[in-house]
């Protein structure tokens, strides 16, 4: 299957029109010693063969279709309404180009404008862009934005921000004169006293996650105040589904809000593609990276949409662009728009409520066993760090759980050695209640 349309006759006719006798003549600019390299690839396959091969690879994985997962730790499995797949899989949504020719892309631009609006509403911020690659790079770019707009060299990031997010931010900043300093935690949340002492006139921004990597809720409003007192920006990294219940970044004074938006209508897909959400206050709009869809009118005065403020972007500003981002996550943003339209405010609150209930019931029934306790005495949403008392340990229990068709919480030992007996347990609305019963049963027998 190569999807090449030309017959032999057509091919020859085309060569004649070009005015050459053979294809080889078209390669006159390519040094002969480079031409037609050996390609050690297997022969092409038909559709059924490709499906068979890929199906076999898929079969060797244990997906969440046949195993119940209590994993969270930065990637959350949520129910995707079937209408999202059905609409998004239309060729008109899957195969268009980036909407630079606005008149030929009104559907896409309007959907992007609707997406931007919904993100603003969800996060309670003034303006949102058309997406970043994922929550981690969105956070990194928010940090860069704070550094550039203030001219200050230092950024403070809570230790309780997901380690992967911190690593990506560090990669982006590496080689620049700017510095990231970690704010320590105490009892599972950011240590505000220490943060207060770390603040200064050279701090461009402060980044906290909410819930944080331990699943704990952070004192965001107070942290924001501390940042603003020194003239720094406050950046909140949040979990979109939780915002059905939790106060959004705009409510506690965030200047920038970022999130991993894949949880809204997109499959887990082993953590990628993601959907980076980035929203800001009005004052920062011209510093935003990424595309922005704007509402305007056409020559007849009828409402229409177009990409705007493009002079921020790489295709115009080149090395002075706000970022280098070009292709983003448009299709996932569309799916998030479909999801948020289907659930509406009431549905989102219900999903959040269901997550809260599931997460708390899971924690209650597990701690009731007597040898499991919460690592931190803090409010949480749908995920918390649970510690396993000796002689039992999560790695050993994992084998028992697997035999019962369960994947347990993510052990924290790799990221936080002092928490080697703890794991992050999460239960979303996508996990059947029956799986919780099975989990408790299995643990009771351990």
């Amino acid at each position: 299957m190569d999807y090449l349309p030309h017959t032999q006759d057509e091919f020859q006719e085309m060569l004649r029109t070009i005015g050459v006798g053979s294809f080889e003549e078209l390669l006159d600019a390519v040094p002969p010693e480079l031409r037609h390299p050996v390609l050690a690839l297997p022969p092409g396959r038909s559709e059924p063969e490709v499906l068979r091969r890929c199906g076999a690879l898929a079969e060797r994985n244990r997906s969440l279709e046949d195993i119940a997962s209590f994993l969270g730790a930065g990637a959350y499995d949520h129910v995707v309404p079937t209408a999202v797949d059905a609409i998004a899989s239309r060729g008109e949504w899957l195969t268009p180009y980036t909407p630079y020719q606005a008149e030929a892309s009104q559907g896409l631009l309007q959907a992007t404008y609707e997406f931007q609006t919904m993100v603003c509403e969800l996060l309670q911020m003034d303006v949102a862009n058309a997406s970043m690659y994922d929550g981690a790079s969105a956070a990194a770019e928010a940090v860069l934005l704070a550094l550039r707009s203030s001219g200050r060299p230092r950024v403070l990031v809570s230790e309780a921000v997901h380690p992967h997010i911190r690593q990506v931010a560090a990669t982006y900043l590496h080689g620049t004169p700017s510095v990231i300093q970690l704010i320590p935690t105490v009892n599972g949340v950011t240590d505000l006293e220490t943060l207060g002492r770390m603040m200064g006139e050279d701090v461009a921004g402060v980044l906290l996650a909410h819930p944080n990597v331990f699943g704990c809720l952070e004192p965001m409003a107070t942290a924001a105040e501390l940042a603003h007192r020194a003239g720094s920006l406050f950046i909140a990294s949040v979990y979109p589904v939780s915002l059905g219940l939790l106060a959004p970044p705009g409510a506690y004074g965030a200047d920038l809000a970022v999130a991993e938006g894949r949880c809204l209508g997109n499959p887990l897909s082993y953590g990628g593609p993601g959907l980076g959400l980035l929203a800001a206050s009005n004052a920062l709009v011209r510093r935003l990276p990424g595309r922005l869809a704007g509402c305007t009118a056409d020559r007849r005065g009828r409402r229409g949409f177009t990409l705007t403020l493009q002079t921020r972007e790489q295709h115009i500003r080149r090395e002075r662009a706000t970022s280098n981002i070009c292709t983003n996550q448009g299709w996932l943003a569309l799916r998030a728009t479909l999801y948020l339209s289907l659930v509406g405010p009431g549905g989102l609150r219900d999903v959040a409520q269901r997550n809260l209930e599931r997460g708390h019931e899971m924690a209650r029934r597990m701690t009731a066993l007597g040898w499991i306790r919460p690592a931190f005495d803090q409010p949480f949403f749908n995920e918390c760090a649970l510690t396993c008392e000796p002689p039992r340990s999560w790695p050993v229990l994992a084998r028992r759980l697997e035999r019962a068709g369960i994947v347990g919480g993510a052990p924290l030992a790799g990221w936080f050695p002092e928490l080697e007996r703890s794991a992050l347990w999460c239960m979303t609305e996508a996990v059947p209640r029956e799986a919780l019963d099975r989990l408790i049963e299995t643990l009771e027998a351990c």
Binding site: R286, Q310, T311, I316, R317, R320
Partner: protein
């Protein structure tokens, strides 16, 4: 194309006018025509020290962004805040209401070293050939 005789010019298409202690700066009719509709102007902060030839402001159209250079060295004294609300002033009245910023020159004679209107005109004609 209008090139007022009472102004001075830089070859990068800025005009300059001495007004007492200050030198007021904007872009010429030629520049604003090339740019087409101005959508946004980024102006320097008052108090900033600038060198002749240094990019100090940016004028944006829908499809392009252009640097505006300080014609002489000095300190920015004030900026035309009306441009924030109405960037189109640059298209409508580039020598008057569309002025961009004023600066206090480091050396008074630098102004005289700028191009006269006929020299600017000549330079433009030459570069077109």
């Amino acid at each position: 194309m209008k090139i007022p005789a009472d102004l001075r010019y830089a070859k990068t298409h800025e005009w300059a006018k001495r007004e007492g202690e200050e030198i007021v700066v904007g872009i010429t009719a030629h520049a604003q025509e090339e740019l087409r509709d101005v959508v946004f102007v980024e102006l320097p902060s008052p108090g900033r020290a600038v060198k002749a030839g240094e990019p100090v402001a940016v004028v944006e159209s829908v499809k392009a962004a252009f640097d505006i250079y300080a014609p002489v060295s000095g300190t920015i004294s004030r900026t035309n805040d009306a441009l924030a609300k109405t960037p189109a002033l640059i298209n409508q009245d580039c020598y008057g209401a569309g002025w961009m910023f004023a600066l206090r020159a480091a050396r008074a004679d630098d102004y005289d070293g700028l191009l006269s209107s006929s020299a600017y005109q000549e330079q433009m004609t030459a570069s077109r050939q």
